[in-house]
């Protein structure tokens, strides 16, 4: 990487092997997919609030379209937004900078990873436009519905959807290998294991978790594709197969996957709350060990998605115990984060507001998970809107709030310009309040017995009041809750325009950023903003002398102490 000669546009931005460019490719692809996924939720939420009416800018949401929209909304938001932005974009951009090296150890594997990812996104989008429409069998794709065309009525999309997901997984396996190898082998001299910033650890552990859990899903996907195309019967009960087998293979991956996206988000929050409270992380090793514990336990909880799916009811008892146990390391991690604020000097900048609101809202996602992990309560709550509200209280903070925190925080490093703080604060309050107004009401809908994936509740008298009704039952408020949620979603979407304006305006017109605008310690802030190809001057690569969270060290005049500052040079 020593020769930095002039490159053409294509070499520089399209076929680049530079980790920062690949990170940006992932980020912009993820942002475009987020807009598509958000548009889908707009269409089906409008249908839920005003069933049977034409949706402006979409048209009539038929049952087939409703299923395709909700299925692909979930798939896109998890596989094409949360994964690429949290792991691939931030992992690629941050890891070499934060551990003080010039690039990933396998730059071409890195480029291949993005190209496969892009291909998978294109296949998914094509599948939506083919005859029969997009796949509508839910993001879990349970057979026999996902196998038999006569049942799902989407002759092309059921196969292409699966192919896209499988390719996306290949892309992240390649990326994950790179992250783990780079962090283990290419750290700056002096950077010991416990000097690695927490966000880097989180991305590495998430990558290991992903690699260890995804094998059964890849095997299952191949089996499902063979069932679809060449007529095998792995999941066909009439030929000796078992549809429940897919559920095990899927959720054995699907539950660790939750932590795969959660951990990088927790890492981002750790970096931001330490920087903006000028505090050392409260118990770095506690965070590390609870992360490892969470990752291990997450392999033993998958069947809590299947309590009422027809598994042996005795097995449910085991999984309710493991599921309750996993609440302990996660809760401990959140306590550590909260404890970090004690004695700090807190600056409520936009990234800090997003990071703190991540903690506040993720707490809600965590405690509502207890209802679903408790077998007895899950008998009723399984597959209701309570589940939807619960996992959006985890995934929205992860994939949206933490990502906004990261963008506001690292934007100066990524593009060398500052984002506008006032617009940032407006965007924060608009997003945070409307997000809560979308999903708090849906807890109520779930408790009233509203089940998921149904396009029109007018056929259920318990949930939808008759037009001439004089008395409205409490369970019929479920429909009012859907209306509130839809209005709140419109407000949420409106506030994202503020973000887009701020983002693109700042990209070209923002105030020039210095190298270390937040006065943070970790190595990425010691590189120029934006870092050139190769990140650090080749003759002056950083050497590390201390951990990343040495803020407000007694006896120092400055309240920060960069990791690469030699001990002799006291400020």
């Amino acid at each position: 990487m020593s020769a930095h000669h002039e490159m053409s546009f294509w070499q520089k931005y399209v076929f680049s092997t530079d980790h920062k460019v690949i990170g940006m490719q992932y980020m912009f692809t993820g942002m475009i997919m987020a807009l598509i996924g958000g548009y889908m939720s707009y269409a089906f939420r409008m249908q839920l609030a005003f069933p049977g009416h034409e949706v402006p800018l979409f048209g009539l949401v038929t049952f087939a379209k409703y299923s395709a929209l909700s299925t692909n909304h979930g798939t896109i938001m998890i596989f094409w937004v949360a994964m690429p932005v949290l792991i691939a974009a931030l992992g690629n951009f941050l890891i070499p900078l934060m551990i003080g090296c010039d690039d990933m150890v396998f730059p071409r594997v890195n480029r291949l990873s993005y190209q496969i990812f892009l291909l998978s996104a294109i296949i998914l989008l094509i599948s939506l436009a083919l005859p029969g429409g997009g796949f509508g069998g839910a993001w879990t794709s349970y057979p026999p519905l996902s196998v038999e065309q006569q049942y799902n009525l989407t002759p092309y999309a059921n196969f292409l959807w699966l192919l896209a997901v499988a390719l996306e997984i290949v892309a992240f396996l390649l990326g994950g290998i790179n992250f783990i190898t780079t962090v283990m082998n290419a750290r700056a001299p002096g950077m010991k294991m416990f000097d690695i910033p927490i966000v880097v650890w989180m991305i590495v552990i998430a990558s290991i978790l992903f690699m260890a859990s995804v094998g059964p899903l890849v095997a299952g996907s191949v089996m499902l594709m063979m069932d679809q195309t060449i007529g095998t019967g792995f999941f066909d009960a009439s030929r000796g197969g078992d549809p429940i087998l897919w559920q095990h293979l899927f959720w054995f991956f699907g539950h660790p996957e939750v932590y795969v996206v959660l951990l990088p988000a927790m890492g981002i929050v750790a970096e931001i709350i330490t920087t903006f409270s000028r505090k050392k992380m409260f118990g770095y090793k506690t965070v590390f060990y609870t992360t490892v514990a969470t990752a291990i336990i997450s392999f033993f909880v998958w069947a809590h998605h299947q309590f009422v799916a027809g598994i042996d009811p005795r097995m449910a008892n085991i999984f309710t115990v493991t599921t309750m146990i996993i609440s302990i390391p996660i809760a401990e991690m959140v306590f550590v984060y909260i404890a970090t604020l004690w004695g700090g000097s807190i600056r409520l900048t936009t990234p800090m507001l997003f990071a703190l609101s991540f903690l506040a809202s993720f707490l809600m996602g965590g405690v509502t998970g207890i209802f679903l992990g408790a077998t007895g309560a899950d008998i009723f709550l399984h597959d209701t809107y309570f589940v939807i509200a619960h996992f959006h209280y985890t995934f929205f903070p992860i994939a949206i709030i933490a990502v906004f925190a990261a963008i506001y925080y690292w934007f100066p490093k990524m593009f060398g310009r500052m984002m506008n703080e006032t617009l940032g604060q407006i965007h924060f309050w608009g997003t945070f309040i409307s997000f809560n107004l979308i999903f708090l009401p849906l807890f109520y809908s779930g408790l009233a017995g509203t089940h998921r994936r149904i396009a029109d509740y007018r056929g259920f008298p318990e949930l939808y009041p008759h037009p001439n009704a004089t008395e409205i039952l409490p369970s019929q408020w479920a429909q009012d809750m859907q209306v509130i949620a839809t209005y709140a979603m419109l407000v949420l979407i409106a506030f994202q325009i503020v973000f887009l304006v701020n983002f693109f305006w700042s990209l070209f017109k923002g105030k020039k950023a210095e190298a270390n605008p937040w006065q943070a310690n970790s190595l990425e802030w010691q590189a120029p903003s934006p870092p050139p190809h190769g990140n650090f001057p080749p003759d002056n690569m950083p050497t590390v002398y201390r951990g990343p969270y040495e803020y407000s060290v007694p006896g120092r005049e400055l309240d920060y102490w960069p990791q690469n500052e030699p001990p002799a040079a006291t400020a």
């Binding site: 519905l145 009960a237 505090k279 369970s475």
Partner: protein, 246 residues
Amino acid sequence: MIGLMDFILPQASTSATQVDFLIELIFVIVGVWFILAEGVLFYLIFRFRKKEGVKAQYITGEKHEENKWVHIPHNLILVFDVIIIIFAIKIWYGVKQHLPAPDETIRVIGQQWAWTFVHPGKDKILGTDDDVAKVDELRLKVGTTYHFQLTSKDVLHSFSIPAFRLKQDAIPGRIITGWFKPTKTGEYDFQCAEICGIGHGIMQAKVFVENEADHNKWLEGQKEHIVLPDFFPAAPMNPTIAAAPN
């Protein structure tokens, strides 16, 4: 316990009261934790706002007197987890694992996109000439313990009666036996709770819980007799386990 669930949706079976007790118990426990944790979070944010001339403290969080602030709540959570686990398993056992002796047995068959309910008829025995099969209409007697034998003809479906707080997926190739006991007369919704294709939303049925006199009057009016689907075996499945796999 606090009547929250009963207010939102009537409790119309024995399992409904059980499940609601657990939901309300968890609601109280995690509600207190949630308010405490949010309270501490917001207190710290306001208490330690940046002030001119005040430097942040240097705390590693690795000394014993520091990390007790994390370890004490950690141990408390463990205690509350055990309480929740005990009640969750107790209620799960009663609703799903233990199968009380039935007064009557019904069959429930899901297919795209309708439910078939086979009532045993006046002789209370399934598989006889006076069985009554109904599409999207289930008629039950209040206070009677029912077994249901649940299966599907095509894809996964799910048998869900919100007012009974009861749910069980239907799987092609398997017959899953479960039970419920209605306790309150009325008309209730029956939803399919597992995505089963584009007609998932119209796969709805009605449950009528009636007193004995009304139920018998309805039975009198039923003239048609049906032949049971041939994929049901003559004998029911393992009777001790509600949802035993094949």
